[in-house]
């Protein structure tokens, strides 16, 4: 864990929440963005010398905004920070030893220990989801999925696992792999999801990999679509990797059930009205004339020779789209299988 490292560095330089967050994400491949954000905030609290509640909340507020600003896509992250802030406030409002009247050091110790418990639970939630989701993978069915969602991977693997459940399900998987072309900085990288493909194949699950352009063609052979999500928004829609929306539209058009697998800590208080209403900036559509391309090339040449002048060079592999709730059949979460409209209910329960 990154905790000891940062503890050492702390006296010399001020705590850098952004660096900690990025370190955490890199150090543990199983870590999701909201959890990393919460962990970073917990570390921040361990380091900060704040002694009053308002000071703590203020610090939290500031670092959260800072963190959100410095990360290009803060949707998943804000789910974590919001949740943590909410949890902190409710804990502090509770009467008794840990309430506003109590000893602040005790409160802090309690908070930190509970936060760790929270993080552990969040990691366990993946197994819980796999338990709920198993039923959606039927014997003899074909599942279409995409992306590198760890929850989807764990669900499929558990369904294929003979030891885990009552009996293994025999199913096939069509895996949509996004072209690695977008990832220019790392040309050798294999498409996200290959790891899952290998793991499934190792378990004896027949897996077909298709490019994104073949989704409509292949969907006729699939019985069910299961995707992961970066964030589940208030109206029950999801923010997910680019390409999920089109799969959702196609699944709806073909009448295939479209399930989303997501932990409940990914529920985020955002209400997008459409694709272009997401609280992030991404330049997916970038109009250019030949003139623009040439001038861009000239600017690049002296400094960045290796950068290929590919037309897609601006395309960000991390870009996301929004899948509206009416395309989603159900959300499989650790608090049960929910309809999209039940998400807002869950969110309201957390917030009020």
């Amino acid at each position: 864990m990154a905790a000891p490292n940062s503890q050492i560095t702390k006296p010399s330089e001020p705590f850098d929440i952004v660096a900690t967050y990025n370190d955490l994400l890199r150090s543990d491949p199983d870590l999701t963005m909201p959890i990393a954000a919460i962990e970073a905030l917990v570390l921040l609290l361990t380091h900060s010398p704040s002694s009053t509640i308002s000071e703590t909340l203020d610090l939290l507020e500031k670092s959260t905004t800072h963190l959100k600003k410095s990360i290009p896509n803060p949707i998943g992250l804000s789910a974590g920070t919001d949740l943590f802030q909410r949890y902190l406030i409710t804990t502090l409002q509770r009467p008794g030893q840990l309430g506003p009247a109590g000893d602040f050091n005790a409160i802090r110790a309690h908070l930190l220990s509970n936060s760790r418990l929270f993080i552990r639970r969040a990691k366990e939630s993946r197994d819980k989801i796999a338990g709920f989701g198993r039923g959606f993978v039927r014997d003899g069915s074909t599942v279409l999925t995409n992306g590198g969602s760890r929850v989807v991977a764990s669900l499929l693997q558990q369904a294929a696992d003979e030891k885990g459940g009552p009996s293994a399900v025999r199913f096939r998987v069509i895996y949509v792999l996004s072209s690695p072309k977008g990832d220019i900085e790392n040309p050798t990288a294999e498409p996200e999801g290959m790891e899952t493909v290998r793991a499934l194949r190792a378990k004896g699950v027949p897996v077909a990999t298709i490019p994104e352009s073949a989704v409509a063609y292949s969907l006729g052979k699939a019985d069910v679509v299961i995707v992961g999500a970066e964030g589940v928004v208030e109206n029950g829609g999801i923010v997910s990797r680019m390409g999920t929306y089109q799969i959702g539209l196609l699944a709806k058009a073909m009448g295939k059930p479209f399930y989303v697998v997501a932990e409940s800590h990914k529920f985020v208080r955002v209400y997008p009205l459409g694709q272009y209403d997401l609280p992030i900036e991404q330049h997916v559509i970038d109009f250019k004339t030949q003139e623009d391309v040439d001038s861009a090339k000239q600017q690049q040449r002296p400094t960045d020779v290796p950068k290929s002048p590919s037309l897609n060079s601006e395309f960000d592999a991390d870009s996301v789209d929004f899948t509206p709730p009416h395309l989603i059949s159900a959300l499989i979460t650790d608090s049960g299988v929910l309809t999209p409209s039940a998400v807002s209910e869950e969110l309201i329960k957390i917030w009020f």
Binding site: E234, G236, S341, E345
Partner: protein, 543 residues
């Protein structure tokens, strides 16, 4: 059906002539509009209809209820005259009226014929005993009405639209006469203001009601032998009954009243009266602040975030919260255009248009008939609400559903998000499947009375004719020039629709927009999908 329909057609076009005081002017008046081409024949055709109409008119002084019948078909200008004559007549027969519970004469005017006939029979014995509760009599036909009403009943058909028959209920109150003596003057005034749409809009009515009730509570003293918690509730319910006879209560009013009654009943009887009254007044103040004033600010703030540069915002009628939202967004420096859709007969959008234009926004104003055009370049729709029902439907000014649907169903385009701004005090646990079961019917005469725009082809008023005469005379020569001697109000071809057979007017106030057409409900508790309305309602009432 063809033959009976013809005279009815004629009669519909003839009415402008019917109420005209000077018969000589009739034929020219009918000729003035080309659409009334058959009008020259009309004066003959409506004759059979006329007696029914004229009958009550001929004997205005004979009996007060007869006046009442006449009033129904008359314009406001004439109504005033009638009222004066009626008043004089009533004074003269004051004694007799007292015996028969005659304030009914004043109340009766708007009672529809069918109802009057029915209730007139029931009213007869009631009027016989003068001791009968005063409040009831005014709304029913008085004893005098009985012979008259029955006579009219034979000739008149029911003017209530059958599908909405259950909504007609009591006729709206026209005057404070006959209100119970318990009703506070502030409430008396408010009732009439609500009836006249001076206080209009769900939130405004809710706030006004609470403020009036605050004055009621301030002026209240507990009678001996009862406790405040017990008696004040019944005292308030007199006020509430009065208000609801002026105009049916809105959902927000109902919710506020429920909260107030709960607060009253939870007052400890041992608390001194002065203190209890202060507590209640504070409760009212904080209710208004929390549920409406601050809530509106929060909603305007979060809804304004949804407005982006370059947006074209379509809104319907005049919602105060939408106005606040648009002004907030404008103050934040956003560049957007507003397209206001309005409708008859209330024209609530006019005020909104003026306010926004004065504030510096770019405003386009059109009536709902121009909706499809306005929706063409729209990017967002903002709507106010009268209520949100538990199945997520939006219950709002009639026409809202049309706007929401055309925004969502716009053919060949990207669908436009429909955003509803609504305080949680307007949430209800009722369910609306359509706008038929629950709705409010306003006076159908509102549809009839319009001020027609000044016509160039009209001859100017004889009084003001002097200067513009040569110009206008030349202009209007090709079309049929007609002396405008008929009063303005009688211009409407529907003016005496009550006497026109086979004609019913319907003036609905609300409609229900299905939840699928609403993308987002902005409340003070956050933005929700319409499906979350019952959850939030449950939570906000439990809090």
């Amino acid at each position: 059906m063809a033959t009976p329909a013809d005279p009815s057609l004629n009669t519909t076009s003839s009415p402008p002539a019917a109420p005209t005081p000077a018969p000589a002017s009739e034929p020219p008046a009918a000729m003035e509009a080309p659409s009334q081409a058959q009008a020259p024949k009309a004066p003959k055709a409506p004759k059979p209809a006329k007696p029914a109409k004229q009958a009550p008119k001929d004997k205005p002084a004979a009996s007060a209820p007869a006046d009442a019948q006449g009033d129904e078909k008359l314009s406001p200008a004439e109504l005033k005259k009638k009222a004066k004559a009626e008043k004089a007549a009533r004074r003269a027969r004051e004694k007799a009226e007292r015996e028969q519970g005659a304030p009914g004469g004043g109340q009766g005017p708007n009672t529809p014929a069918g109802k009057k006939g029915g209730s007139g029979d029931a009213g007869a014995p009631a009027a016989g005993s003068a001791a009968k509760g005063q409040k009831q009599i005014p709304r029913r036909g008085s004893a005098q009405a009985v012979p008259q009403a029955e006579e009219v009943k034979k000739k008149k058909e029911n003017k209530n639209v059958a599908v909405f028959g259950h909504l007609y209920g009591q006729q709206r109150r026209n005057t404070v006469a006959g209100a119970g003596k318990e009703v506070h003057p502030a409430v008396l005034a408010l009732g009439l203001q609500m009836r006249d749409y001076v206080v209009c809009g769900s939130s405004a009515r809710c706030v006004a009601t609470l403020l009036a009730f605050k004055r009621v509570i301030e002026a209240y003293t507990t009678p001996k032998g009862t406790s405040l918690a017990r008696h004040l509730t019944t005292h308030l319910s007199h006020q509430i009954t009065y208000l609801s006879t002026c105009r049916p209560l809105s959902i927000s009013q109902g919710n506020a009243i429920r909260a107030l009654k709960l607060a009253i009943s939870s007052i400890d009887p041992s608390v001194p009266e002065a203190q209890a009254k202060t507590t209640l007044c504070e409760f009212i103040d904080s209710f208004i602040r929390e549920k409406i004033t601050v809530a509106d600010q929060v909603i305007a703030g979060s809804a304004a975030q949804k407005i982006k540069d370059g947006d074209v915002v379509v809104t319907f009628a005049g919602s105060s919260i939408v106005k606040q939202t648009l002004l907030t967004a404008f103050k934040q420096g956003k560049k957007f255009r507003v397209s206001i859709i309005d409708s008859r007969p209330l024209f609530e959008g006019k005020n909104l248009a003026r306010t926004l234009a004065n504030a510096g926004l770019e405003v386009q104003y059109s009536l709902i008939s121009g909706l499809s055009h306005a929706v063409k370049d729209a990017t967002k729709v903002f709507l106010g609400a009268h209520a949100m029902t538990s199945n997520g439907r939006l219950y709002s000014r009639v026409g809202t559903a049309l706007v929401a649907m055309s925004a969502k169903e716009r053919a060949g385009g990207v669908e436009i998000p429909v955003i509803v701004c609504c305080e949680t005090v307007k949430f209800t646990d009722r369910v609306a499947l359509d706008s038929i079961v629950v709705n409010e019917i306003a006076d159908a005469d509102e549809l009839v009375l319009t001020q027609p725009p000044h016509q160039l082809t009209d001859l100017p008023d004889p009084a003001a004719a002097a200067q513009p005469e040569p110009k206008k005379g030349g202009k209007s020569a090709p079309s049929n020039p007609t002396p405008e001697s008929a009063p303005k109000s009688s211009d409407s071809p529907l003016a005496d629709w009550r006497d026109t057979p086979n004609l019913q007017l319907l003036n609905l106030l609300y409609d229900a927009t299905p939840a699928e057409y609403v993308d987002m409900v902005v409340t003070e508790m956050g933005s929700l999908p319409p499906s979350a309305v019952p959850i939030v309602h449950r939570m906000s009432t439990n809090l």
